[in-house]
């Protein structure tokens, strides 16, 4: 066994046993109508983070259930100390419904304000700030304690990919996923549309035939949903831009994406936003729009995500830090204010994938212990929500 002390982090132990790497108060608007007021409450309150919610009303039941699952999952994430729900009053997704869904997962503090009941913007903002302020004061009483790396659930993602993603950054992520599995932690492979063409390879990596079949099933279902809409996600893939960049076949493109999964057996296939309770490498059925899939994994309990980008994207998440990697040396320097980790030394044949992977593993532990990633410094954290008519 490796010496475990080298693989601990300082986290917040929550009452449900999970470990947080941040100690946020999360302000959640239950619908688009209360999103601006929720943002006014969050503004100038260090310790509070917020999301925007374009949904919560005017939705069919299946779509509404997806929104509820995402909101409740984000609230339940161990990086969140407590939650303030900001409702309008007449929306479909009443704050009581959201609170009940959170309660199914955790007993953390949940407060609420409602615009129609409080009486307008000013009074709701004042009451919301008072409640959020109390939660922040309570959160400040929490201390970081040593936690084993096996408490970590690490999401993986790619966005704004270029040829260096599949040749460098995704290989480093795959290496780290193997290490996390060996150390008893969890990593999540996501973005089902990007499995298309390589699903049989991923299925072969499954721990059992049943799990392998589940991987094939989620890919088939994803494709069928688009076919039902008269769309084909295989057509135009790889794109002309991909081909100009050296990608010849869809299989080649998808193999570059799924290399993030490393080589260890896949232990489970989860639905979007399912709470992750399995150790080792797991698959979550998410869309491939990165701001959405990161949110889905975070709702499943990922405390942080490692994210490869080639062309460069500043995206993050308000609840869980997103550690941005690139294998493109130009992107690493030109957009250094949102790149956290440069894997391009592997392409210059200066460092091996394993050397970079070990360095990334140590950075993950530092970030889990409180070191800020770049998007947190700039306050970048827009999310998107999975939908019945989903992103691809």
């Amino acid at each position: 066994m490796e010496k475990q002390d080298a693989f601990t982090f300082m986290g917040y132990r929550r009452t449900d046993g999970r470990a947080g790497v941040r100690n946020h108060v999360l302000v959640i608007p239950t619908c688009a109508c209360s999103s601006d007021v929720a943002e006014m409450i969050t503004r100038n309150l260090p310790g509070a983070v917020g999301i925007h919610n374009q949904n919560g009303c005017g939705q069919v039941a299946g779509d509404r259930a997806m929104t509820l699952k995402l909101l409740a999952g984000l609230a339940a994430n161990p990086n969140v100390y407590g939650v303030l729900l900001v409702g309008l009053g007449c929306e479909q997704l009443q704050w009581e419904i959201v609170k009940e869904a959170i309660r199914l997962q955790t007993d953390k503090p949940v407060e609420a304000v409602e615009i129609q009941q409080c009486g307008g913007v000013k009074r709701t903002v004042a009451e919301g700030k008072r409640l959020a302020g109390e939660l922040i004061a309570q959160a400040a009483q929490c201390s970081r304690v040593p936690c084993p790396i096996s408490d970590l659930i690490v999401g993986t993602n790619c966005g704004g990919s270029d040829p260096t993603s599949g040749l460098s950054a995704n290989l480093v992520i795959g290496y780290v996923c193997d290490r996390l599995a060996d150390l008893g932690a969890t990593s999540i492979i996501s973005e089902t549309p990007e499995f298309v063409g390589a699903e049989k390879v991923l299925a072969k990596q499954a721990a059992t035939d049943e799990i392998g079949q589940q991987i094939l099933d989620i890919v088939a279902r994803c494709e069928q949903k688009f076919i039902d809409l008269g769309e084909n996600i295989r057509s135009g893939n790889p794109s002309q831009g991909n081909k100009a960049g050296g990608i010849t076949t869809l299989e080649e493109k998808s193999l570059g994406c799924i290399h993030k999964a490393g080589t260890r057996p896949i232990q489970a296939v989860l639905q979007s936003c399912d709470r992750v309770n399995t150790k080792g490498t797991v698959v979550m059925d998410t869309c491939a729009y990165d701001v959405c899939s990161v949110a889905e994994m975070t709702a499943g309990g990922a405390q942080l995500t490692i994210f490869s980008t080639g062309r460069g994207t500043p995206s993050g998440n308000p609840v869980a830090p997103v550690l941005k990697l690139t294998g493109n040396e130009h992107t690493a320097s030109w957009m250094e204010d949102f790149i956290d980790f440069d894997t391009s030394p592997s392409l210059r044949q200066e460092q091996t994938i394993a050397e970079l992977g070990e360095a990334l593993l140590q950075m993950i532990l530092r970030v889990a212990s409180g070191e800020l990633v770049k998007h947190e410094i700039f306050g970048i954290g827009e999310i998107a929500m999975p939908r019945l008519c989903n992103y691809c």
């Binding site: 040829p163 040749l167 390589a198 050296g246 010849t248 299989e251 080649e252 193999l255 392409l347």
Partner: protein, 94 residues
């Protein structure tokens, strides 16, 4: 003598390398441990054959099948949409 151009092999059983910089015919693409002489110009991030492949043979990258040779390919040739495809060519696998 021109400098060797950098290339990467992802898994040992791959039948192609990816060149990290544009390579001209006659130049050498090198992983540091393996050298292949290019028979034709190869754009940056495109693939060069590590060894000869028969028409219909599976092409490996990432240690996995990424498609089929649509024509006979010599070591050092550019491998792309003109001589590789997702589907096996007429006549089936080699």
């Amino acid at each position: 003598m021109t400098a060797k151009k950098k290339a990467v092999r992802i898994e040992d059983n791959d039948t192609v390398l990816t060149v990290l910089e544009a390579v001209q015919a006659g130049e050498t693409a090198s992983t540091g441990t393996e050298d292949i002489t290019a028979l034709e110009d190869i754009p940056q991030y495109h693939k060069i054959a590590r060894r000869a492949m028969k028409r219909g043979e599976i092409i490996y990258k990432y240690g996995q099948p990424m498609g089929y040779a649509a024509a006979d390919i010599a070591a050092g040739q550019w491998v792309h949409t003109h001589n590789a495809d997702s589907e096996p060519p007429e006549g089936g696998e080699a």
